[in-house]
């Protein structure tokens, strides 16, 4: 298996208040292809900051992140947008689907940005919605879907661009326990079937139990890294 992400000695310091906050503190981490990894730890330990840096949404104050050997920490903003489109899938805590588009259109949208043709877009969108068990809601708007259903569409959307890896920051934080289980099982299935690499953060014990690797953070540093 090859290494997709190499985070080397990254730090992120916020200077908003008088005391500097070390959200991420000299952290190094490798992610291999096909991983199903949970970043865990109490609120404020730096999970979101870490994922943002890995996803090229935020720059580390120090250190660098390489994705498939490319240093993304020094990329320009416009290059990063394009890089994210080609390499990274995102799932957000608040679902963040495009409210005016249907479930299928939301999944297609990302492929449209990648300039895929219409048939390919349509077929792949339907295929992914079926895999995520939400094909019957393909023509519904996000507002007509439950949180769990929306998040399943969001995962389908993240997979649509055939990204190198998918980042999900607390994807289940807004879901009840049955939706949480359901979503995690589907994600695990996609991990197996499509060899999709998932990195998700959580502070929920039941979610951690589904992960095959658990990276625990405390004050922006890794305190344990367990593979199962």
């Amino acid at each position: 298996m090859s290494t997709i992400i190499k985070a080397i000695n990254i730090s992120k310091v916020y200077h908003k208040s008088t005391v500097p906050v070390h959200a991420v503190n000299n952290l190094s981490l490798n992610i291999e292809e096909g991983e199903f990894t949970a970043i865990v730890g109490p609120s404020g330990c730096g999970k979101t900051t870490l994922l943002n840096i890995l996803g090229g949404l935020d720059q580390p104050t120090e250190g660098k992140v390489e994705v498939d050997g490319t240093d993304i920490s020094s990329m320009k903003d416009s290059e990063l947008i394009d890089f994210r489109l080609r390499n990274i899938g995102f799932v957000f805590q608040a679902y963040n689907l495009i409210p005016v588009l249907t479930a299928r259109e939301n999944v297609e949208f990302i492929m449209l940005l990648q300039k895929r043709n219409k048939k390919e877009r349509h077929d792949r969108a339907m295929e992914l919605l079926e895999s995520m068990d939400i094909a019957d809601k393909a023509n519904s708007k996000p507002s007509q879907l439950s949180g769990g259903q929306q998040q399943r569409v969001a995962v389908a959307r993240a997979l649509a661009s055939k990204p190198r890896f998918i980042l999900a920051d607390e994807p289940t934080a807004n879901l009840d326990s049955s939706s949480t289980n359901n979503l995690l099982d589907l994600m695990a299935k996609m991990n197996e079937e499509q060899k999709a690499t998932f990195i998700f953060s959580t502070h929920d014990q039941r979610v951690m139990d589904k992960a095959r690797r658990i990276v625990t953070l405390e004050d922006g540093a890794i305190v344990s890294d367990v593979k199962r």
Partner: protein, 404 residues
């Protein structure tokens, strides 16, 4: 898909969008209406000035217009008249003799322009007969009838059938006076007619001036749509000894008026368009601020800033162009309706007539005016969309995602 998203975004906040669309509708309607109204104001003013005062064109001796010296009569007026009567675009022609003099009643005396006319021809050219408010158009007075304006009548404190005396110099420079009787009183919006003119029969005036059949002025009207300037030039080249002028040269004020109205309309357009632009900017800024998260998410997913920018612009243009056609249509309907029925300004007409307007207006817009309005609206919408769109792409995805 951007077009679809933009279109659906317009309808996300229906209330707000409808307010903008409504404002757009009213704005465009106001614009078409104001345009049509002002246009008709102008047309009516110019038409009435041409109809009652300048006619479409006039001919004089080149020296005459400078000091009204009666010796400067039109030498070959007969051939000019022949030429005019032959022309297909000339409707009617009249001749006048003119002299400046004094008019006096038993109570008052004042300076006056004495105009010797042929009543029938004059009626065809200037419709002078329609201005009679009291008395008759030269009828019922057997010797030396005169028509004077209502203001002049007031000043002289005379009435129909009152006696007035006209005094002036004849061709030899002798002071001559003639006793005239008021046949009718003219009620005109034109100050020249109502305050300082006395119309007499040309035969009476010429006898007193001792100038035989000589005339000082030819006035003619043309059929609608005639290029009066070109016609005047054409006559001029044929009769070089005399001076031929179209209404534009006779009354530069009318031309100035035309230009002023055009500028006023432009200013009005700018005001209305700016108001619309601010409304659009405000609405779109709200729409952008409300969607900070969503826009941040789009950029996080990999939507290029240029596309986000385009999306906001397209959205704004949709928003603005939905109201546009509706307003344009209502404006068009209003103009067409009023163009037939007319706007009755009789209640305000005293003030208007004082400055020379008719009291019923028929608004009118040319197709080109509508096209201009449409282009103006789209341009406005486009310009107004730039700032909100720029705001949208200034967002950093990470900050935007965190904003709740």
């Amino acid at each position: 898909m951007i077009a679809i998203i933009a279109w659906r975004n317009v309808w996300r906040n229906k209330g707000r969008s409808l307010v903008v669309i409504g404002a757009m509708t009213v704005g465009i309607w106001a614009l078409t209406f104001a345009g049509g109204f002002m246009q008709s104001f102008l047309t009516s003013y110019i038409e009435s000035a041409i109809r009652h005062e300048t006619s479409n064109g006039q001919v004089h001796h080149p020296e005459f217009t400078q000091d009204y010296d009666i010796q400067y009569n039109i030498k070959d007026y007969e051939s000019i008249l022949g030429f005019l009567k032959q022309s297909e675009v000339v409707e009617s022609v009249t001749t006048r003799s003119l002299v400046n003099g004094m008019i006096s009643s038993s109570r008052q005396a004042t300076g006056v322009k004495i105009i010797g006319i042929n009543p029938e021809e004059e009626a065809k050219v200037t419709a002078l007969n329609t201005l009679i408010s009291e008395g008759t158009y030269f009828e019922g007075i057997s010797r030396n009838p005169v028509l004077i304006g209502n203001k002049l009548a007031e000043k002289l404190k005379v009435n129909v059938r009152s006696k007035v005396v006209l005094t002036f110099q004849d061709i030899e420079g002798n002071i001559t006076a003639g006793s005239f009787r008021v046949a009718g009183i003219l009620n005109a919006s034109s100050v020249a007619i109502s305050e300082s003119s006395a119309y007499v029969l040309k035969s009476d005036l010429n006898r007193l001036l001792n100038i035989g059949d000589n005339i000082h002025e030819i006035a003619y009207t043309t059929v609608t749509g005639t290029d009066d300037e070109a016609l005047a030039n054409r006559i001029q080249t044929n009769f070089e000894n005399d001076k031929v002028e179209s209404w534009k040269e006779i009354s530069p004020a009318l031309v100035f008026m035309e230009q002023m109205m055009a500028s006023m309309l432009k200013i009005l357009i700018i005001i209305i368009m700016s108001a619309l632009a601010f409304g659009i900017i405000n609405t779109m800024l709200m729409a952008v601020l409300e969607r900070i998260r969503e826009l941040g998410m789009l950029m996080a997913l990999g939507m290029k800033r240029a596309k986000v920018f385009l999306m906001i612009i397209v959205e704004t243009i949709y928003l603005s162009t939905v109201g546009g056609p509706v307003g344009l249509f209502i404006g068009y309907a209003t103009i067409s309706y009023l163009g037939k029925v007319g706007i009755d300004l009789t209640d305000y007409s005293e003030g208007l007539e004082a400055i020379g307007y008719n009291s019923i207006l028929y608004p009118l817009l040319q197709p080109m005016d509508y096209v201009q309005i449409v282009i103006g609206v789209i341009m406005t919408a486009f310009l107004a969309s730039i700032y909100p769109a720029w705001k949208a792409i200034k967002l950093k995805p990470i900050d935007a995602l965190h904003a709740i």
